[in-house]
């Protein structure tokens, strides 16, 4: 194995295969690089980012992250990317989320916008969009699925026929014309392009769902309000409006009606990464609780020496370890199975989202009143933990995917 870190560029060569107990050395190098940057540069800014106006965005930090290669982790090297798979992305996102989940999601959402282009297998589509991330100016992408009346109806194929008022597309010569709106689109306000899912006119509900790559500078695209969220405040969830937006036929991912398939593949790739974000939130809470319980003296001894506290810390640690194991396995499979599996990423996300809330809640309790104060940052971790249950699949949607696999897959350990 040779490892090459050009400056801070996270370029990967000759990847090693992870084992059950060790990360490949290039992933360790990536993890350590991101960890170091996050501790030095992001941690001091977390309180400010969290308290900022909903529409504020810290381009300076994003520029630094871009400089490290965080916007192009999953972009193949032939397009100027770092050439990591979801595995590397997930490890990096855990490090980011351990300090700030919002920033992790800004980079994660970019990967989500890159995924359909990667999955398309269309070399020209890839050549036109993936090198955008290889320059020195930071570039973000986003993925636009969710609408006012349709979220899960666009994710679950069986629901597609029931979806209401879905954004529409019709062909006009060498272009498609898009009309409609999207909501809660992470990076929508700051992305260069979006992968947008719209329903072909004439198809009921979302049965003609099609994925388009849309430059957000295109005439007819307008930005709506930025959502004032409870957590994840350092990334922006935005409305996007499309009024007669003309998109070249070359920008279709797959073909007309392939949107559901693209979306499912994309979700199966992304869920391992989101599970890593939740794991990171949990780990951040655990680390803070461990530090607190090591320093805080009650009854003449540090909290950690009280059996109840020790038990809580141990349970929290076990949960974080288990969540990490699940997302690493899911990410590895997402990188190495075609198509990416549904089961493992859904399990990883379901579990990590849940334990993030449990660990953050427990950690807050351990810190007592301090845990409830904004100054200490634990309540922010809990707010962030709650957010992951909403995006990229609620527990209910994940449960459907998992249960479907239980009845249809006969894979054993």
């Amino acid at each position: 194995m040779t490892q090459q870190l050009n400056g801070h560029d996270l370029l990967r060569e000759e990847p090693e295969t992870p084992t059950l107990t060790t990360l490949p050395s290039e992933i360790v190098a990536l993890r350590d690089l991101v960890r170091s940057w996050v501790r030095e540069r992001v941690a001091p800014a977390v309180r400010r980012l969290d308290a900022a106006d909903a529409a504020d965005f810290d381009w300076d930090l994003v520029r630094e992250g871009h400089d490290l290669g965080l916007t192009r982790l999953v972009v193949p090297q032939q397009f100027g990317g770092a050439g990591h798979g979801i595995f590397g992305v997930a490890v990096a996102l855990e490090e980011l989320a351990a300090v700030d989940a919002g920033l992790a999601l800004a980079f994660g959402a970019t990967m989500l916008g890159q995924a359909p282009v990667l999955l398309s297998g269309d070399p020209r589509l890839q050549a036109r969009f993936l090198p955008l991330f290889s320059g020195d100016d930071p570039v973000l992408a986003c993925n636009a699925i969710t609408e006012d009346l349709a979220g899960c109806d666009l994710l679950i194929p069986e629901n597609a026929g029931l979806a209401q008022d879905v954004m529409s597309a019709h062909r006009d010569g060498d272009h498609y014309v898009l009309n409609g709106s999207k909501r809660f689109i992470t990076n929508g306000k700051v992305a260069t392009y979006a992968t947008v899912f719209a329903n072909m006119e004439g198809h009921p509900g979302a049965t003609g769902l099609t994925c388009f790559v849309v430059m957000l500078e295109s005439p007819g695209v307008t930005l709506g309000e930025v959502a004032d969220k409870m957590g994840y405040r350092s990334c922006l969830g935005t409305e996007l409006h499309f009024a007669g937006v003309r998109v070249p036929v070359d920008n279709v991912v797959g073909g007309e009606g392939d949107g559901v398939h693209v979306n499912i593949q994309q979700m199966n790739m992304a869920r391992a990464a989101v599970a890593a974000i939740s794991t990171g939130v949990a780990r951040g809470a655990l680390d803070q609780a461990v530090a607190w319980a090591g320093d805080r003296v009650q009854g003449g001894v540090p909290l950690r020496q009280h059996q109840f506290t020790a038990r809580k810390l141990a349970e929290m640690a076990a949960k974080v370890e288990a969540a990490r194991g699940l997302y690493l396995k899911a990410a590895y499979l997402a990188d190495n199975e075609i198509p990416a599996p549904a089961f493992e990423p859904a399990v990883a996300k379901l579990f990590a989202d849940r334990i993030a809330i449990e660990v953050a809640t427990e950690a807050m309790g351990l810190m007592g009143a301090r845990g409830y104060l904004r100054d200490h940052g634990m309540e922010k971790r809990l707010r962030d933990a709650l957010g992951a249950r909403i995006y990229e699949g609620t527990p209910e949607v994940l449960a459907l995917a998992i249960t479907e696999s239980l009845y249809t897959d006969d894979d054993d350990f």
Partner: protein, 302 residues
């Protein structure tokens, strides 16, 4: 001729590739190249930055960016067949054609957008050969024109292939419309080229390449080069060769050889170019430079 079987789709693709490279900036390149790899680095306080770096020291994404800039400018000029680019899904010139020792000289603006570029390409990554060896590997210009240039222009005694560089892709960004800025970028690139030639080891003794007489030749003569154009050759490239258009669409592209003075004399020319660039009146200074150091042109039969 260029096949246009892909029609409008190829036109759209090419427009996107050109647009893509116009967006990209590389201001961070200087920080990413090892210090010893910066063969030339000049910034005159107005945001323009000129850098010379060998292929071996360039991170891959910058290499792709430079090769992409080259392709985008040739697409702009109509020197590359759109259908070849489209059908191959190209967005940069192939990196595999580069040698580790090729030197890339580029001028960027404050945003890192490339405004001008030229390369001093090395003979290849193999063992150096004597120019007098009839079996030596050929430089790209020789392969295109089907000629051993040193059959027509005597090689300097004892010179090896690693002491010869091919001047390639002397291009300006098509976005550069201001005449003074164009002249400035031209002079910056020539200054960078001369500075590299004054210091690179082993010392470069001869330049080769091919050019149109009314474009690149004027620039090279500004540096005082004694250019010998080999007449009567015919470039031969396959129809589907990426650069087929570059030769067929232009009036006449001729190979040349230019032997260089010693490095001390080159260093003196570097200083002259430096003075020209430092002048308050660039046009006047460039005219003076052209009058005082203008090189010579001779023609030999090919």
């Amino acid at each position: 001729m260029c096949h246009d079987s892909s029609g409008d789709a190829a036109v759209r693709y090419v427009a996107d590739v050109v647009s893509l490279h116009r967006r990209l900036g590389y201001r961070g390149l200087v920080r990413r190249v090892p210090r010893r790899g910066l063969l030339h680095l000049v910034e005159r306080g107005d945001g323009l930055l000129t850098v010379a770096v060998a292929t071996r020291d360039l991170p891959h994404r910058y290499l792709i960016g430079l090769q992409g800039f080259r392709l985008a400018q040739y697409l702009h000029l109509g020197w590359v067949c759109e259908d070849v680019v489209y059908s191959s899904a190209l967005f940069h010139e192939p990196v595999r054609n580069l040698s580790a020792e090729d030197v890339h000289i580029l001028t960027m603006n404050g945003r890192g957008a490339i405004l001008g570029y030229l390369s001093l390409s090395a003979a290849g990554d193999g063992e150096p050969e004597q120019l007098s060896d009839p079996g030596r590997s050929r430089f790209p210009v020789e392969r295109v024109h089907g000629v051993n240039l040193f059959d027509h222009v005597a090689a300097l005694p004892g010179v090896r292939t690693d002491q010869v560089r091919e001047v390639k892709r002397f291009v300006h960004s098509r976005s550069l419309r201001d005449k003074q800025q164009r002249l400035r970028v031209t002079l910056e690139l020539l200054h960078g080229m001369a500075a590299v030639l004054a210091t690179v080891e082993p010392a470069v003794r001869t330049l080769v390449g091919d050019l149109e007489e009314n474009v690149a030749l004027r620039h090279l003569l500004l540096t005082g080069l004694e250019v010998q154009i080999v007449e009567g050759t015919t470039p031969r490239l396959a129809d589907r060769d990426l650069l087929h258009h570059a030769y067929m669409e232009r009036a006449s592209v001729k190979p040349f050889v230019a032997h260089l003075p010693d490095q001390e004399e080159i260093a003196a020319r570097v200083r002259l170019l430096q003075q020209t660039l430092d002048s308050a009146s660039l046009f006047d200074a460039a005219s003076l430079l052209a009058r005082t150091t203008r090189g010579s042109l001779t023609r030999v039969a090919g």
